[in-house]
Symmetry: C2
Subunit: 339 residues, 2 copies
């Protein structure tokens, strides 16, 4: 195979994305956006071996890396307009460049987002660094710091699927490029249909997550949330961040946290700790937000379910209420430097 030059690779990447909304797009020293420009910016990096492995086909890695960034912008009550893509490519990674970029382009198309620019470098380790630029949906952003005692705490969808999917990949379940998921040979015979179904949805939830790109801006536009963050490092960690930023504490009820469908029933058979993946599992990209509205009222106004899991209280720290009583919940989500 002839090695591609940097300019060739840039051409191939550019060809996959729309660039409207950027009068000067990729290919000049910098991108220029249509007036009035963007007020919201976020950046996120995925490193091979740390944030993804060969167990995840390249198109899913591409999709997911953009989804994580869209989630950050959505959590501010903003809409992503454009993004910049930086790739560090290890030897051999060029072979999967089209798949990686293709997965990203599928999501960018779906969300109507333009590629504004980027950079390429060869690198001993493959990594993907994305910066997203967006517009506020309202005059003010949704910040982490706006929660007040008495507010209800919401999650936008069931939790635990992504961490369960990751655990299954580590156990040897295989995600194929076509999205099908197959069990490891050792358990293939005793993997029941419902088990396979759950494993398949959990692995796809991990590999091809969606961001709450409609809900975030809607919460901001209608002024329905007092604070908001996305669940990227796990509920326990991200709720602790929201509480710390807001200068308050929280009480949540385990039984009110919606688990990923069928997870509690089959967790043991799959060797998973359902409680741990729900409370601490990262890369969910659900929104975690606070609101003075009740659950039924809020779901009605939004035209979709959201789940009240507890309330904000004065003080600090998080208390978790379960059938066995109350206990302090410590952040136990993902810290990139704590392994």
């Amino acid at each position: 195979m002839t090695r591609l030059s940097e300019d060739d690779m840039l051409e191939r990447i550019r060809a996959r994305f729309r660039t409207s909304g950027t009068p000067v797009g990729p290919g000049d020293d910098a991108a220029v956006l249509d007036p009035p420009g963007c007020r919201v910016a976020s950046t996120d990096v995925l490193v091979e071996g740390i944030d993804f492995t060969g167990a995840i086909p390249a198109r899913f890695v591409g999709w997911k890396s953009l989804a994580a960034n869209l989630s950050d912008i959505a959590a501010m009550g903003a809409r992503t307009r454009a993004f910049l893509l930086t790739l560090g490519l290890a030897d051999g990674a060029e072979a999967t460049l089209d798949d990686l970029v293709g997965g990203m382009a599928d999501l960018a198309d779906e969300e109507g987002i333009a590629l504004a620019g980027g950079d390429l470098s060869s690198s001993p380790t493959t990594f993907i660094s994305i910066t997203t630029l967006g517009d506020l949906a309202a005059d003010s952003p949704l910040e982490r710091s706006g929660a007040r005692p008495g507010d209800r705490i919401y999650v936008s969808r069931p939790l635990g699927g992504s961490a369960a999917g990751l655990a299954l990949l580590r156990q040897g379940w295989v995600l194929r490029p076509d999205g099908s998921v197959v069990p490891p040979e050792s358990i293939a015979e005793r993997a029941s249909f419902p088990l396979r179904e759950l494993a398949g949805s959990a692995v796809r939830q991990h590999a091809m997550p969606t961001a709450e790109t409609t809900l975030g801006p809607m919460l901001a536009e209608r002024n329905l949330a007092t604070a908001c963050i996305d669940v990227s490092d796990g509920l326990s960690t991200d709720l602790a961040r929201l509480c710390r930023a807001s200068g308050c504490g929280a009480i949540i009820e385990f039984l009110r946290i919606p688990p990923f469908p069928d997870l509690p029933e089959h967790a043991v058979a799959l060797g998973l700790d359902a409680r741990s993946v729900v409370l601490h599992g990262g890369e969910e990209y659900a929104l975690l937000f606070t609101s003075s509205k009740r659950e039924s009222e809020l779901s009605g106004m939004l035209g979709r379910p959201v789940y009240a899991i507890g309330r904000i209280v004065a003080g600090e720290g998080i208390v978790l209420e379960t059938d066995d009583g109350s206990a302090r919940l410590e952040p136990a989500g993902f810290d990139h430097f704590a392994r």
Copy 2:
């Protein structure tokens, strides 16, 4: 040494930068900029072992990585307002984090640029990915594509220092954290004072470059340039890009290209090919631009020297005129994937 957590490292990084101009700065899901936001965005990545090595102390790596990005924004006729910083840190890189961030903060302070956000990850390879956000100085940006036959071609300052400095580092010259440069032991005795002086300025030019953050916006505001690019991959490569984008060719005169001071006199003694570093040396961050104005007129209007090195012609490709006659100049600068 206790390992720092991600949040601890983020705190230490944030503490070094100003965040004004960003009502929501680092620490939330995304940054929010003061109205009207930014219309210009650029991104650039440096990878350890590819773009920098242990031969360059961390504070210079930090400075340089931001300078490269400021140069891209300046080349668009824009001013950088804020930046996002993504770091992939290999084991041990935490020890130099303060120096790396300190060098970057020195330049950010000097240029009045706020840190808007960022991301941290552990990584097998250390890398620095920066996205800069800026404002146009005029209604229209300076693009690569505006050069027309008859325009004069300018460089904003002497060339070749950075590539000479890199070559000297590879020969064993040492750049110390305090900025002093010492010869390798093998030649220490015969390295004359002028030679050491030149080596010192060249190595510092390589490690601590400045971007044309005043000139770029000035050219745009006063409508003095028809096209502009920064010399990041070498004059031959970047001029070829400008010509290709503009659909024209160029004739340049070697004797009119200003070489880095004292380089021609001492190149041989230092084992350098002066002509090659001037024509093809990258990471200069000079501006390369075209204008219909004459050199004396333009330098007068700008209140600083700029150097006419040739002219834009119809057709394609670059012709280099020397004492020995004319020859085609092929791009021979840095391609990240052509080693």
